[in-house]
């Protein structure tokens, strides 16, 4: 029987995660749900698994096999209703065997007090055979490939023949994301096998190729709303991408209110000289190999704003960490101002070389919540401010003014008490005030309010105007079209395309294509 969701709305403070969205998951068909970050895909999954709840005043109806509910109250209720989920991370314990992992999940069969290992083996073997998984039950989890692990997780979620009868819908929540593209075929064949049992399959994925090849129906979400729902055969990649693109970011081209001060003043106070203009690249990498990076080469000149885009597996998450000395370089060369960077790189060494990184994941890597604003902003250059109270005050006043950190007069307030946008502006101040040669920004506008975004983009332009090279990564890649002169696209750890404003290839559509396929 089909699983139908009608008019689901989920609102969080300030954000409509899902707005009157309706879906029909037909039995025996694989239904892909696509959308950019924040479009509502994972909210949908969480509603179906009882973790999030629809708004009280919404007319949400969820149909499972004849039952109608307005809300699934808990994961247990979701299970009872017949929802089975496979997440990106499989619930397999490393150093345990596959059969024991299954037993841990399902409950050990016992002979009195002790475990009945024979039954454990039998059940595991039955399950593996049922889903055509070619692994022996006593294999250790450590020795499984990512595809194997997720197939076992799926088998565990579904259960044996009697248990499968209770399944009303199989939900794959980015279950393919941890599997390398080359191995996904095997996994997806097994998914098809499950669908053939007559079970509706909801597949949340960001991999366009898999959608085109394996899925039957497609629903596209954008900003919490359903913007398309229909057969896969009626659409193509370009259509999908065009539907997934977010609305234009108004903040990109707005200008920040003029403050009385500029970054140049700040640098003068701290006795730093901005870099000179140059036609030679200030940072370049050749054949860089690291985690998820397979021979990457690119370069950036002073004053350039370079954007880097790609789908989540392409290496865009790892590259900023490598550039900042936080992730190990396996091989390849990394040059800054013509000098080779040492193989054993640390953030400190990068800082000394003039490469500053504004990290993603602000609460963990951007700032220390339990230190004051002042301590955070001046952290990289603490030594210079030792015993220089007056300099500290003047620097902080300038930073707070230039970067518009609110509230004013708050140097000694705890960092954690500022809003996300103000924290991010402070972190910009932290990494711009030392006047680096290269500024790497990893997702600078994540969780940042529109007014703060304007300020951040303005600061980026000012920095570039002073010949600092900027490299920008973003989970809202369309915004890069408005601020970058060049964008490189990554795929499977290599640069596969270069989009240039000058050549007219740099626009929201092409960027979206590279990120969502």
């Amino acid at each position: 029987m089909a699983v139908v969701v009608k008019n689901v709305s989920v609102t969080f403070p300030g954000v409509k995660a899902l707005e009157n969205a309706s879906f029909t998951f037909q039995e025996g068909r694989i239904h892909a749900v696509l959308g950019a970050n924040g479009s509502g895909k994972s909210t949908l999954v969480k509603v179906l698994t009882g973790i999030y709840h629809p708004d009280k005043d919404s007319q949400t109806e969820i149909f499972f096999d004849g039952h109608v509910v307005n809300d699934i109250h808990s994961p247990n209720e979701a299970y009872d209703l017949g929802a089975r989920v496979v997440h990106q991370e499989s619930p397999l314990i490393y150093s345990f065997s596959v059969e024991e992992c299954i037993a841990l999940f399902k409950g050990y069969p016992t002979k009195g007090v002790r475990v009945d290992w024979k039954k454990v083996r039998q059940y595991a073997q039955k399950l593996l055979n049922l889903y055509h998984i070619n692994i022996s039950p006593d294999t250790l989890t450590d020795n499984l490939s990512a595809a194997d692990r997720n197939m076992v997780a799926m088998a565990m979620a579904m259960g044996d023949e009697t248990e499968t009868k209770a399944t009303r819908i199989l939900i794959l929540d980015e279950a393919d994301a941890s599997i390398p593209e080359a191995e996904t075929g095997e996994f997806l064949e097994h998914v098809r096998h499950v669908a053939n049992m007559g079970i509706p399959v909801l597949m949340v994925t960001h991999r366009m190729k898999e959608v085109i090849e394996f899925c039957d129906d497609v629903t596209i979400l954008n900003g919490g709303r359903v913007v398309y729902s229909g057969l896969k055969t009626d659409i193509d990649e370009d259509f999908i991408v065009s539907k997934m693109i977010r609305q234009t970011d108004e903040t990109l081209h707005a200008h920040a209110k003029e403050t009385g001060h500029s970054i140049l003043e700040l640098w003068e106070l701290l006795e730093r000289t901005p870099p000179g203009a140059d036609d030679k690249p200030v940072l370049s990498v050749k054949n860089l190999t690291a985690k998820r990076l397979n021979g990457l080469s690119f370069s950036v000149k002073p004053g350039e704003i370079l954007g880097v885009i790609g789908n989540p597996d392409s290496g865009v998450k790892e590259l900023p960490q490598v550039l900042g000395g936080d992730l190990e370089i396996v091989s390849g060369e990394y040059f800054v101002s013509g000098k080779t960077m040492p193989k054993k790189l640390t953030p400190g060494k990068c800082f000394k070389a003039g490469v500053n990184v504004l990290p993603c994941d602000r609460p963990i890597r951007g700032g220390i919540m339990s230190c004051t604003l002042c301590e955070n902003v001046l952290m990289p250059t603490q030594k210079e401010f030792w015993n220089k109270g007056k300099l500290v005050r003047r620097t902080m006043d300038l930073c707070i003014d230039i970067f518009d950190v609110q509230p004013r007069d708050s140097s000694n307030m705890l960092f954690g008490k500022f809003s996300g946008g103000n924290q991010q502006k402070a972190i910009m101040a932290k990494w711009i005030s030392p006047c680096p040669k290269v500024l790497v920004l990893d997702d600078p506008t994540y969780g940042v309010d529109p007014a703060s975004r304007i300020r951040i983009f303005t600061a980026m332009r000012e920095a570039a105007a002073s010949n600092i090279a900027l490299i920008v990564f973003s989970t809202e890649p369309e915004q890069l079209a408005g601020i970058c002169s060049h964008v490189i696209a990554l795929h499977e750890g290599q640069v596969v395309a270069e989009l240039k404003e000058s050549e007219g290839t740099l626009n929201r559509n092409t960027i979206a294509k590279w990120c969502y396929t």
Binding site: P91, A103, L104, R114, V115, L140
Partner: protein, 316 residues
Amino acid sequence: MNESKLKTFISTFSLPLVLLIVIVVFGSVSPQFLSVSNISNMFLGSMASAFLAYGGIFILVTNEFDLSLGYNLCLAMCTAAFLGTIGAPGAIILGIPLLLGAFYGFLNGLIVVRQKISSFIVTLAIGLTLSGIAQVITGGGNLYLTYPDWLLYITRKSIFNVGILVIIWLVLGAILHFFLTQVPVGRQMFAVGNSEHTAFLAGIKTAKIRILAFTLAGFFSALGGIVMVGQLGSACSSYGVSLLLPAYAVVFLSKASYKPGYINVPGVVTSMALIILGTKGLELIGAATWCEYMFQGVALMFAMWLSAKTSRTPIR
């Protein structure tokens, strides 16, 4: 093919092999060293550590840390002796400290799991509190225990030259081994210790498992206290605290053998034997006291090295 079989053999039996070397070396210096009664006596002299090691097994398997076990053992000793001074019946002398020891463990578990405070701090705080209680009970001095007879008998006498207490300890070890390898709750403890988050995702009641681990550790520590007060006939509030870390070392060392990389009871028994025989053997040949500490330290470093070598990094 033969080379890898040899490697597996060595890694599975590394501890017994080293033990064998120790026995041979010290046995050749002094033949009485190898007599059953002598070995049994050496074990009898280290029973506090031996029971603390069992308590430590539960803690380390679930990937926690408990600094209160030594204090727990001490308080159990003092409580038992105290009950003796007020003339309580034998069953009470055995039962009450055991119940209390388990309760103190339970308290540890409850606070660590529910309040989500680091086990290091919670168990330290509780441990110091227990020590305080012990000082109140003993009034700062010694308490003496002269009954029940069956307790004194079990903890001091031998059958066929083997200490009864040692036999009990070994039997308990067999039960523990069974629990950890054949009983679902024991297997779940390993799962929780391996990755609490994943175990939770797999539907295991990780909170209950962790609290159980702390409770059992408290129970075994208290059991150790009771047998010690039976053996020594007296209790004071400073006994046993310094025995905790060496006990953890023994548990950790078990990873070096039988099931490399995992804590296992046969490994604990063997490494306990290794530490006891090694230490006493050094004493026998007249080595200075620092040699014994060195020996324990080096043994632990060996275990860590082997554990790091045999542990697998998860494929991410």
